[in-house]
């Protein structure tokens, strides 16, 4: 077993998010709403050498299997990510993330004058467009600055 595979399969049960673009691991956790308070075992590898990405980040969540809809949101900041579901140290499922049509309740709108920033009883909602996302309410387009607008 190679060093790489060991790293991926070290948890007993849970999810390993691999091939995350270097520097995005903490944003991955933020998007998933995982901040440690749930008591899940979380380990983060940053700037791990990778054939595909040069350097990559890696996130392991012990004790929780992430659903496809949860992880699809990650495609916005980590389009190359692979999701490994682990049971009894074995990878039982390996999936790529796919771009969702809409992202609901995850990002905050960068337009301070947007109605979604005005204490209304709605989740933010963004349409996923060619090179970013777009607010369903005020039409603001969000591109590279996406990660800084993650609602934690």
């Amino acid at each position: 077993m190679s060093d790489h595979e060991l790293r991926v399969s070290k948890i007993r049960n849970g999810t390993v998010i691999d091939h995350v673009e270097g520097g995005q691991a903490l944003n991955v956790l933020a998007i998933l709403g995982i901040d440690g308070s749930e008591g899940l075992g979380v380990s983060v590898g940053m700037n791990v050498p990778s054939d595909r990405l040069g350097r990559k980040d890696l996130v392991k969540v012990e004790g929780r299997e992430l659903s496809q809809s949860e992880v699809d949101v990650l495609s916005l900041i980590a389009p190359e990510a692979t999701i490994n579901i682990i049971r009894e140290f074995e990878v039982v499922e390996k999936n790529r993330v796919t771009r969702p049509d809409r992202v609901v309740g995850v990002l905050s709108c960068p337009n301070r004058n947007c109605i979604t920033n005005a204490d209304e009883p709605v989740d933010t909602r963004f349409e996923v467009v060619a090179d970013g996302v777009r607010c369903d309410y005020c039409a603001t387009v969000l591109r590279s600055e996406l990660a800084t607008h993650i609602d934690v």
Binding site: N113, I115, E120, V129, R134, Y137, T140, V141
Partner: protein, 317 residues
């Protein structure tokens, strides 16, 4: 119109626009044919931002259809100032009225309102977002003067925050219209509008000066540049002065150039333009009545119905 609401100009197809404008033509030609057509109907005017003319225009259009209007009054005296959410406000008002006209200072307010109610919502301006009913009357004015195809339109002034500009620019992509955008660098079209224009394949031709394109224009749409967009007053006067027109400015224009403005104007169009054949901004404001009658008739009536039969119909079809 297929939609139940009028929220943004992006939702409007060419067919939607022509449907409303055909009806507006009939309403303008024979308003009496529409009198009392929607008697017993109530329209709520909810203006969370000061406005006299848009509010009065909707009010007058409604009354010509026999619609009663109820008005929320000034925001300062309403429950909004007590911190009620827009979602709650419109859900209450939905019980009082058959349709809601909404003006609000936040972008996206009309979209949100439409999600919470079943009655039609008309966006009468949401912050620096959209103002689609203004666009319909703008298009009506252009159509009656030039038609809507093979058209060259210059849009000048505050393109960044001007909601009438945002709606007009997107709506014009439905037609064979070349658009030129004339503004200071700091007030160019926002990314959201560029996105819609690019989606439709429309070119965004931008200019610092009107002189560069004036001779080729059929329509010049002027908007106000507001003081608060600039860090200091001197800068405002210097920049805004570049985008004011008078009768002399128009010397190089085509004889049939139509000059439009959503009003109110301050000093961006000098009074001496009023006396030229180019001035159409008062006609444009008056067009608000038949166009808003047509819009209300479309949203409140039977969607398959294209308005009452009038004696003048054959003249205009």
């Amino acid at each position: 119109m297929r939609q139940d609401h009028l929220i943004t100009a992006t939702q409007l197809s060419r067919g939607d626009i022509e449907g409303v404008l055909d009806r507006a033509r009939k309403a303008a030609a024979d308003p009496s044919a529409y009198a009392g057509r929607h008697a017993g109907t109530v329209l709520a005017l909810c203006f969370f931002e000061p406005s006299t003319r848009t509010r009065m225009s909707f009010d007058a259009a409604a009354k010509r259809l026999g619609i009663d209007t109820i008005d929320m009054g000034d925001v300062g005296s309403s429950s909004v100032s007590k911190g009620e959410s827009l979602a709650d406000t419109v859900r209450v008002i939905e019980g009082y009225a058959d349709a809601i006209v909404l003006r609000h200072p936040s972008e996206g307010a009309a979209t949100l309102a439409a999600e919470f109610v079943d009655v039609p919502v008309i966006n009468a301006g949401d912050g620096a977002g959209q103002h689609p009913s203004q666009t319909l009357l703008d298009l009506h004015t252009i159509r009656e003067n030039h038609g809507l195809d093979d058209l060259t339109v210059g849009i000048m002034g505050d393109l960044k925050y001007g909601r009438t500009v945002h709606s007009l620019a997107t709506a014009l992509t439905n037609f064979d219209a070349r658009q030129h955008f004339i503004s200071p660098q700091s007030l160019r079209l926002p990314r959201s509008v560029r996105f819609d224009l690019h989606e439709t394949g429309a070119q965004v031709r931008e200019h610092d000066e009107l002189a560069a394109v004036l001779p080729e224009l059929d329509v010049l749409y002027v908007t106000r540049i507001q003081k608060e967009r600039f860090p200091d007053e001197n800068e405002y006067h210097r920049v805004a002065g570049e985008y004011q027109i008078d009768a002399d400015t128009l010397a190089d224009a085509a004889a049939d150039l139509t000059v439009m403005h959503p009003l109110p104007r301050v000093d961006e169009i000098a009074p001496d333009v009023d006396d030229t054949d180019h001035a159409r901004y008062f006609e444009q404001a008056h067009n608000g009545i038949p166009v808003r009658m047509a819009l209300l008739d479309t949203l409140l009536g039977d969607g398959a119905d294209d308005g009452p039969t009038t004696e003048t119909e054959t003249d205009h079809e």
